[in-house]
């Protein structure tokens, strides 16, 4: 029973840890499907986290915090759009720039406004998104097997967790069942086809980036307002890059993205759980090995040793009307 509980706990923290990855990964899916590389997911998440926690603590409202997180994150996405769509700049360079501005400005502004060494004030319960306890969760807790699964895994998460997982089928639906999705996929493959069909390539890509901004904003808000009770500097700690890796791992498909993020979240949860404890057969696994595993797996995938990841064909290339 103990080992069963341990498994449930690891899976529960897998879910918690994979949520920011999943949101950021889906965010990246929108922009990359539209042909805009985005290595600025990290930075957008970070400003989202900061804006969310800052606004929540100032206005004493989780929802205002969330709204602010989304707003600022979208604003950064628009900077990326301005550079890479309007001015046809290098998308990688623009993404790197955004990550730097985000990393620096969250600390500077945080220190200037709250004077707590770059932290925002600890959020009160009503300023955060508390866990939602599903009906009967407490009653059923005692039921063997199903009880813990229902009350730990399914129930008891913040609204943002359910939102993240709901975004998976929603994104699939948008991508493959709506006009916007059709056009977005088209513009990531062949923008000239979209242009000659009388659709604005730029506006379409901007809209995709708005989706990206919204989702990275929620991802950031989750970090600072759910996982943690406030903003801490550099709290994204490379999650934006892992999300990018997950996106490649998922071959730019929403359902795959969920599994990739759950896998990476699981590795993370496992490495926390296993810290110092030896495994049967393998012995003691260095925690750093588990941490590096998502990146190693992505490199192996990219190298085509397990399947082939083919990115959207127009990705990374600014659209220029041909003469």
């Amino acid at each position: 029973m103990d080992s069963f509980n341990a498994i449930v706990q690891v899976l529960d923290s897998t879910i918690r840890l994979s949520v920011p990855l999943l949101l950021a990964c889906l965010a990246g899916l929108y922009s990359e499907r539209a042909g805009i590389f985005d290595i600025g997911l990290e930075g957008k998440m970070l400003v989202g986290a900061f804006a969310g926690a800052a606004a929540a603590s100032v206005f004493h409202s989780g929802f205002i915090g969330l709204g602010m997180a989304i707003l600022i994150s979208v604003a950064f996405a628009m900077v990326h759009g301005f550079a890479s769509i309007t001015h046809r700049g290098n998308q990688i360079v623009s993404g790197v720039a955004i990550n730097f501005v985000a990393a620096g400005s969250t600390i500077i502004l945080g220190q200037a406004w709250f004077q707590q060494g770059g932290r925002t004030p600890a959020l009160q319960p009503d300023e955060r998104f508390e866990a939602i306890v599903w009906p009967g969760a407490d009653v059923l807790r005692g039921v063997p097997i199903l009880g813990p699964i229902y009350s730990e895994l399914i129930s008891g998460h913040s609204i943002l967790v359910y939102f993240a997982f709901a975004m998976v089928p929603f994104t699939w639906w948008v991508l493959f069942r709506t006009r916007f999705g059709l056009r977005m996929r088209a513009v990531g493959e062949n923008p000239a086809a979209v242009d000659t069909a009388g659709i604005s390539v730029a506006w379409l890509r901007y809209r995709a980036l708005i989706c990206t901004g919204v989702l990275t904003g929620v991802a950031g808000a989750y970090l600072s307002m759910v996982q943690n009770g406030g903003f801490v500097k550099d709290m994204t700690a490379g999650k934006g890059y892992i999300a990018l890796a997950a996106l490649i791992f998922a071959k730019w498909k929403p359902v795959n993205a969920m599994f990739a993020c759950l896998l990476f979240g699981f590795l993370d949860a496992l490495s926390i759980r296993l810290q110092g404890t030896p495994l049967p057969v393998i012995g003691k696994v260095p925690v750093q090995f588990m941490q590096a595993l998502p990146y190693v797996l992505t490199v192996i995938l990219l190298a085509g040793f397990i399947g082939k990841a083919i990115p959207p064909r127009a990705g990374g290339v600014p659209y220029v009307k041909e003469r």
Binding site: F176, R179, L182, R185, A192, A193, V194, A197, G198
Partner: protein, 510 residues
């Protein structure tokens, strides 16, 4: 004359200092097929792009159905019933036919009803025009001819009454082109107006009702097709008698320098592009390969020059085999006396961002003359570049100028100078005068003949039949990856044309 479907009045368009269109007037009658001919760069595509809202004219007026209109986006054009089939298809390769057809013409925010509507529409269009194509097929798995059909379907689905086709047969096999023409005639019978842009006069004569000729950005004439001749159109296109035969003496063919045996080349998709081709080129002769673009000539040249992998066969250079695995070192082939003027000078033959002198050693940068140990011998390179500039009259004569800033003809001369001055035994040239001004054409032709007279083996591939006939001592005709015939330099245009169209080939096969 029937009511005009389109009228263009006084259209002007400049790109920087280049005037692509000047004072263009054009009237296309409803329910006719109107051809627009002109050489590359005459301004045809620009004009049609203005009509389709891709560019805006600097001045002038467009009338559709007699009413003045302003077309500032492709959307406006589509709303006015104008559809365009681009030279490079505007299709999303990994979408299905249906998805491509509805893209930009969806009913509402959800796809379901659009797809259902498109499916029934495609059935109707198939019945009416014989445009059959599998609606659920993925574009990248369709042959080129069918992809083009999807482009036409896209336009018709959007309710196009006026259909513009930009160089539609460039990528088609003759059989596919015939099918296209049948479709266009059917469209005409249904009252649609077709504008056909091409530089192939034979097509114009075969299918159009009226034809306009463009030259250097101006509209020089409009004729009723039945009342004109190929000769007259050609003269109007170029501005003087076209056939410029360069003076040349009898060839004195020597030993075999380049020998190709049973060469077969496939492209990335596995389609056979060169099919069991064999021929020899002797010293002191020019062998010309004629053919419609896309019949395997490019792949043939690339395989011979060691850039492209060949599936089977053998290429002998001066009696020794060439590595055909695609891993050949083109540098080593150069050392063995093979010089190659590639078809695409912008991306292959030159690095446009380089200074002229840097391009004058491209591919020969391994040569000791240009090196001092691992370092470039800058003085030697500059001296060499200046020498070539003088010999080939390259203008402006500044070896430090960026290559992008030279005109097409001068860029081609930079490549030719580099390749010819290496004193190769074998010279292979792809499209020697594509995009080159008339003055430079003559210069280049004379140089090629001079190479021949020095006893070099010269292989020329060109889609310009006149060029092939003017230069070659022997003419090979390529069709669908095969050499379908060999003729002497006195072969008539008609004879070669039939070969290029694959007519004899098909008869032989039957």
């Amino acid at each position: 004359m029937a009511q005009a479907a389109i009228e263009l009045i006084g259209i002007n368009k400049s790109f920087g200092a280049v005037r692509a269109n000047r004072d263009i007037n054009l009237e296309v009658a409803r329910g006719t097929i109107h051809g627009i001919v002109g050489e590359n760069g005459a301004g045809k595509s620009t004009l049609m792009s203005i009509l389709y809202g891709f560019y805006q004219a600097d001045s002038g007026e467009i009338r559709v159905g007699g009413k003045p209109v302003s077309i500032s986006t492709s959307n406006d054009a589509i709303a006015l019933g104008i559809g365009m089939v681009h030279q490079h298809f505007m299709l999303v390769d990994n979408f299905t036919v249906l998805e491509n057809v509805i893209l930009g013409a969806e009913n509402d925010a959800l796809l379901k009803s659009s797809i259902a509507k498109a499916r029934s529409e495609l059935e109707r269009l198939e019945r009416e025009y014989g445009l059959e194509v599998e609606p659920d097929a993925v574009i990248e798995e369709l042959p080129v001819g069918l992809q083009q059909r999807v482009e036409i379907l896209k336009a018709l689905y959007r309710g196009a009454e006026i259909l513009i086709l930009d160089e539609p047969t460039g990528v088609l096999t003759p059989a596919e082109a015939d099918h296209l023409f049948r479709i266009l005639k059917q469209l005409k019978e249904q009252g649609k107006t077709v504008v056909l842009i091409t530089h192939k006069l034979r097509e114009i004569m075969a299918i159009t009702d009226t034809v306009s000729v463009m030259r250097q950005g101006t509209m020089v004439a409009t004729r009723v097709t039945k009342e004109t001749t190929v000769g007259e159109l050609a003269e109007l296109m170029v501005g003087r008698r076209v056939l410029l035969r360069v003076e040349k003496g009898q060839s004195e063919a020597g030993a075999i320098k380049l020998s190709v045996k049973n060469l077969t080349v496939k492209d990335q998709r596995g389609v056979t592009m060169v099919d069991d081709v064999s021929f020899d080129v002797r010293g002191g002769e020019i062998v010309g390969i004629a053919g419609v673009a896309g019949n395997g000539q490019s792949e043939l040249l690339e395989a011979i020059s060691g850039i492209r992998h060949a599936v089977s066969g053998e290429v002998m250079l001066e009696g020794k085999p060439v590595d055909l695995t695609g891993k050949a070192d083109p540098g080593e082939l150069r050392d063995r006396g093979l010089a190659h003027v590639p078809e695409d000078r912008h991306h292959v033959g030159l690095v446009l961002a380089f200074e002229e002198n840097e391009n004058s050693i491209l591919g020969y940068h391994d040569d000791e003359r240009y090196l001092k140990g691992p370092f470039l011998n800058v003085d030697a390179i500059m001296a060499d570049a200046k020498d070539k500039i003088e010999k080939y009259d390259i203008r402006p004569g500044n070896p430090r100028l960026r290559t992008a800033n030279f005109s097409g003809g001068n860029q081609q001369k930079i490549v030719l100078a580099r390749e010819m001055e290496q004193d190769p035994g074998v010279l292979i040239v792809g499209q020697p005068t594509r995009g080159v001004d008339v003055g430079a054409i003559e210069f280049i032709h004379k140089r090629l003949i001079a190479m021949r007279d020095q006893g070099k083996a010269v292989l020329v591939v060109s889609v310009e039949l006149d060029e092939i006939r003017s230069l070659s001592d022997r003419i090979l005709v390529m069709f669908a990856g095969r050499i379908v015939g060999e003729r002497g330099p006195d072969a008539t245009e008609g004879e070669l044309g039939l070969l290029m169209a694959g007519v004899e080939h098909q008869e032989a096969a039957e």
